[in-house]
Symmetry: C2
Subunit: 428 residues, 2 copies
């Protein structure tokens, strides 16, 4: 890792991606004698753990997103660049964008991951995933429009199809979405229609593996499954989606007609592995060493969901915020240590911060080392932890207000169908 | 006005438009023995007076919008229909939609108005107006992207163009937008960029007439103009826009290069005047009598911005929420009186509720009969009145939180660029 750039300037640190990992590097280098360029395709940092609540009309996008510029406003050593990176030139040490090249001395790739369709990319149109604000408002639009269409539909079979929602993937996103969708349909919308009864909404949660929340201890998986079944979610385990179309999904030999399909399965890392021409795993994560660098690369760190990092037992670390943040902190320390002429840091070790997931309205599951929590107490911890990790007092106040309101009234505060005129059959 | 439908059922009241006027009719008929169908192209009722704050990143869309269904949830006599009306068949007494016909006994047209380009509809692409949530997020996107593009622009002249914002129209919307845009640029964004100085943003407010806020008493117009000039708005009176393009506007013999142009001038009523084949004014408003019905039509009311109604002095009533609401209340009373077999109501009379407009951060103007207020006291009244008229405690709490936060920190809480991937040069 070079200590300074070729022309004697301060070392240029280029960070691609302002998610939990990338932002964490930038924040921790605030006072380091480096010039940081932080590049992202969006103008905002997103608190992804609550994105499912935007998709289900509980929160507004701005409640869980912050302009990246304002987050690093006071770091005079940091510039923010809005745009998409298309490649990395490791020889000339520069990042390639549509209209720019950005030279680097140290490169940090924290470009994240997206949902994967196991090679069936044509399914994306029928089964949107949930990674960005635009994804969330698109899913919200589809969910709310399905009820509107059903209200006007005279054919009983088509009405039933419109009121069927399939969520593919039984990980935390799928589980949290399923709970929230049921609550939206059966509580918030319950009394709002005249021809249909939203209580009849059929929510399927489809998981290819043998249990929900595969990353959690087995008893918590069972708890989540029971809790979802109790509120009416049709949990289907060991069922893989074999086809997606505009009218539903196929699960092996069963065909399910559905008005809305949401994809929360599979993961595909960003193309960073191709940019660097290094080894990746099956889903495109870059294999990095215990120093979070790809083997043989001195000046490139790969962190967050872009990297495959194993814990001491050889198990891959989960794609969650605490892992990303700790890796960001480690990289910042490594860069500072190098600048100070110190020897290399000890290998990265993840300190477990637990796994959390809500399951519907009043219960959650938490696995923290040997500690396992479930039920309302876990749900409170989940809520407090998530509010705590929001940035700024304003967002905390607003999220708490929205939550209290929803809790008391069963209302969802952001039931807006937007972007409709260009897309809807109502205006053909 | 027929007392009941042909087949002896309860009279069918069809209301087109769930803005202030249409919603007011529906709410006041909650307990009347009628069957109401409330039709709107959007799923939400919008508090338009604060829409400029969504466009300038101060509020989130859901803070000022409510699902129409939830607003009339408890009225069992009311159904809500999402969709666009394309015409009215006055002979067969039915409203025509893309896939439906809706029969009526009494029809209320409250379809509102939109901005008009004086016959130059091609300008719309370059100078979006502000009537819907999608309009507001589009304007927000353009404003914020202009700063992002400027930050990356190396050509000084192009940078200057990108940092020029033209607002066309000196009515309340234009005046409020100008104040908010200046505050966004000079306060919220001030420290967030490295290559550009948002303080250098040039905001032009262009008005074809001799003064701002033409509906207000002259001294308040002067106050607004002085207040805007003081914060740096370049107010151009008696200047008409003669051309709009992707790179700016032409004002007679002056060409102004601009990165963002917002259209707050002109008004065009909805096509209701064509649906009914009745007389309209220059901008398509239906001429109605003092009973809010077009002459000779017994079973059709036209209210809100769709109608031209004159006060006792023969002056047209302004297109503001109190006028729309009072007209809605009048129509509901007229329908109830008729059902009760009473004689016709006395003519509609508007009770003045005042004219209000904010001018930037700490001042407002209010005209209420002979009373004229300006300055910080008017600004407080403006704020309290607007919070008061929001629906639901939740929205009041959230808007007050956002406002207090913005007031103290100068931050704007909703600085999100959304819908970008499909539209931006960053991803070409």
């Amino acid at each position: 890792m070079p200590g300074s750039s070729a022309d004697g300037q301060r070392p240029r640190v280029v960070i691609v991606g302002a998610g939990f990992a990338g932002l964490s590097v930038a924040k921790r280098l605030a006072r380091a004698p480096v010039d940081i360029t932080l590049i992202d395709r969006e103008n905002h940092h997103l608190f992804q753990p609550l994105l499912y609540q935007v998709a289900t009309a509980g929160l507004s996008p701005a409640d869980i997103a912050w302009p990246i510029r304002s987050l690093v406003r006071d770091q005079r050593n940091t510039s923010v660049l809005l745009g998409a990176v298309t490649g990395v030139d490791c020889v000339q040490k520069r990042v390639i964008m549509a209209h720019h090249h950005i030279g680097y001395d140290v490169l940090v790739l924290a470009t994240g991951a997206t949902h994967g369709y196991f090679g069936n990319d044509s399914w994306a149109a029928h089964a949107p995933g949930l990674k960005t604000i635009d994804d969330a408002t698109e899913i919200r639009r589809r969910l709310l429009l399905a009820f509107e269409c059903a209200e006007m539909e005279s054919d009983a079979r088509e009405r039933e199809r419109l009121l069927t929602i399939v969520i593919v993937g039984g990980g935390p996103t799928g589980v949290e979405l399923a709970g929230a969708v049921v609550e939206l349909a059966r509580k918030a919308l319950a009394a709002d229609f005249r021809s249909i009864d939203p209580q009849q909404t059929h929510v399927l949660l489809v998981e290819a593996g043998p249990r929900l929340l595969p990353g959690f201890p087995e008893p918590l998986s069972s708890h989540a499954e029971r809790a979802l079944r109790r509120v009416g979610v049709d949990v289907r385990l060991q069922k893989a989606v074999t086809h997606c179309s505009a009218t539903g999904v196929t699960l092996g030999d069963e065909s399910v007609s559905a008005g809305t399909v949401i994809w929360a399965a599979g993961i595909v890392a960003s193309p960073a592995v191709n940019w660097l021409a290094v080894a990746g795993d099956r889903v495109g994560r870059v294999l990095v060493g215990p120093d979070l660098r790809p083997p043989g690369m001195d000046d490139v760190f790969v962190i967050g969901d872009t990297a495959l990092v194993q814990d001491v037992a050889g198990k891959p670390l989960p794609g969650i915020a605490p892992v990303a943040k700790q890796q960001g902190a480690y990289v910042a320390e490594a860069i500072k240590a190098h600048l100070a002429g110190k020897t290399a840091l000890p290998p990265f070790r993840y300190r477990d911060r637990g796994l959390l997931a809500t399951v519907g309205r009043k219960t959650a599951v938490i696995a923290f080392g040997r500690l396992r929590l479930k039920g309302w107490f876990a749900w409170w911890i989940w809520g407090i932890a998530h509010v705590y990790f929001l940035i700024s007092v304003r967002n905390r106040l607003i999220v708490v207000t929205q939550w209290l309101w929803s809790y008391v009234s069963y209302e969802r505060g952001a039931r807006l169908i937007t972007g409709m005129r260009t897309k809807s059959r109502f205006f053909d």
